[in-house]
Amino acid sequence: MRFITEYRDRGKATALARAISELCQPGRRYKLMEVCGGHTHTIYKHGLEHYLPDAVELVHGPGCPVCVIPMGRVDDAISIAQQPGVILACFGDMIRVPGGKGSFLDAKAAGADVRVVYSPMDALKLAIGEPDQRVVFVAIGFETTAPSTALTLLRAQADRFANFSVFCNHVTIIPPLRAILDANDVDIDGFIGPGHVSTVIGCRPYLPIATDYGKPLVVSGFEPLDVLQSVYMVMRQLNAHRAEVENQYGRVVTWEGNTTATAVMAQTMELRPHFEWRGLGSIPFSALKLRSHLAEYDAEELFKIPGVRVADPRACQCGQVLRGQIRPWECRVFGKACTPEKPIGTCMVSSEGACAAYYNFGRLAAPRVRSAARS
């Protein structure tokens, strides 16, 4: 497939691995965080860690919008679904995420009308086709997905489809990165930056990571060669004592990003003062809600929701995985009490979660001895 297959060439991967090896300075270790769940998926699926020298370590970050949704928000969505005449529409990723009282799938089995959609527009189409039902779309995702929700809302508003509303759980990428760096308990040298978020926000928003925290960040594509090339670029900066934002994914990402997309986001949504992130606690100005002029399409205005903060199960260590403090196999319940079939936490249930990725792809390879926490 064009623009995909070319970036999976094994010969070039070997060459890149060699170049990365040559960059390793004697006695120096390089700890890079790949922010986005899609990169974690690529790394494990293609066994990229085996292409990296021991001195280079990759830790996983919080860029999985399903993984960071707290259990209480899942319960809120289920309480909406249980109202009479409601159809809850969500992406497939959400259907098995465990809340405090079960998942959307459990709610469906108990009689709630829950439907999986591919696009927010499909949820709107559902509302158009079922005028006697209220369709509530559970919106998740970073800035990658928020513009699509925004356009859907504008369409609903323009054509006055009053039986459509959005339960908004969009989050933004920079605040959690800052939160991880501010917590200062994981010694990260540099970042493999998210690729598709950056098609919307561009590269400019990452500048504080470089200027305020002195960490290089390379915006990366998702194919194996993209990730390896990005690792190379970060290491090259580190060796030269540079801390800059670079763009490896130039075929899709521009410095300025998609200004139409950011404009529709701004038109329809605003930042919440606070939002609870699973594993990271409450982060200010890190999540989006609908603006007041869209109140009649805002599920949080239309429905009474419990809004209860549900603590993660005691055994769950998702928070530490999302912050890069531990690797999946270091979680005490990984593969035992917590499996994709019976997930305790979101890192295992989301297909982009680090634990699911490792369980499905990396489990059999001997894990390289690591210590993610600050030594």
Binding site: K12, P147, E352
Partner: protein, 113 residues
């Protein structure tokens, strides 16, 4: 968040200028292109699709640049492998020569390497 795939625009939707038909390896879907209103794509352009919306144009020139860089690294590596292989082969030949001359009683001359 992350699932964005390249698709080829085959035609714009006559009925709704916010939409175009996109082909991914033979599977076709109507995709919303309103986010690309600053630089409206045309049939034959490649776009990145996410949840039924086009988020960005794929810049073919940039794609070629990235690939050229990767090829450059790969070629440098292959060249080096060739050089190593050649010098290994040379080393073997010289070992053969010197063992042949040793067998015949003549001394080897390391300086010839």
């Amino acid at each position: 968040m992350c699932l964005g795939i390249p698709g080829l625009i085959t035609e714009l939707d006559n009925a709704d200028d916010q939409y175009a038909w996109v082909d991914v390896s033979g599977a076709k879907r109507r995709v919303n292109i309103a986010l690309l209103s600053e630089d409206v794509p045309r049939a034959g352009d490649w776009v990145l699709i996410h949840v039924g919306f086009a988020l960005a144009r794929i810049d073919e020139e940039e794609a070629r640049t990235t690939l050229r860089m990767l090829e450059g690294m790969a070629n440098a590596y292959t060249d080096e492998l060739e050089v190593m292989a050649q010098s290994a082969a040379q080393g073997e030949r010289q070992t053969d020569d010197s063992s042949a001359s040793t067998a015949s009683g003549a001394s080897s001359s390391p300086g010839r390497l």
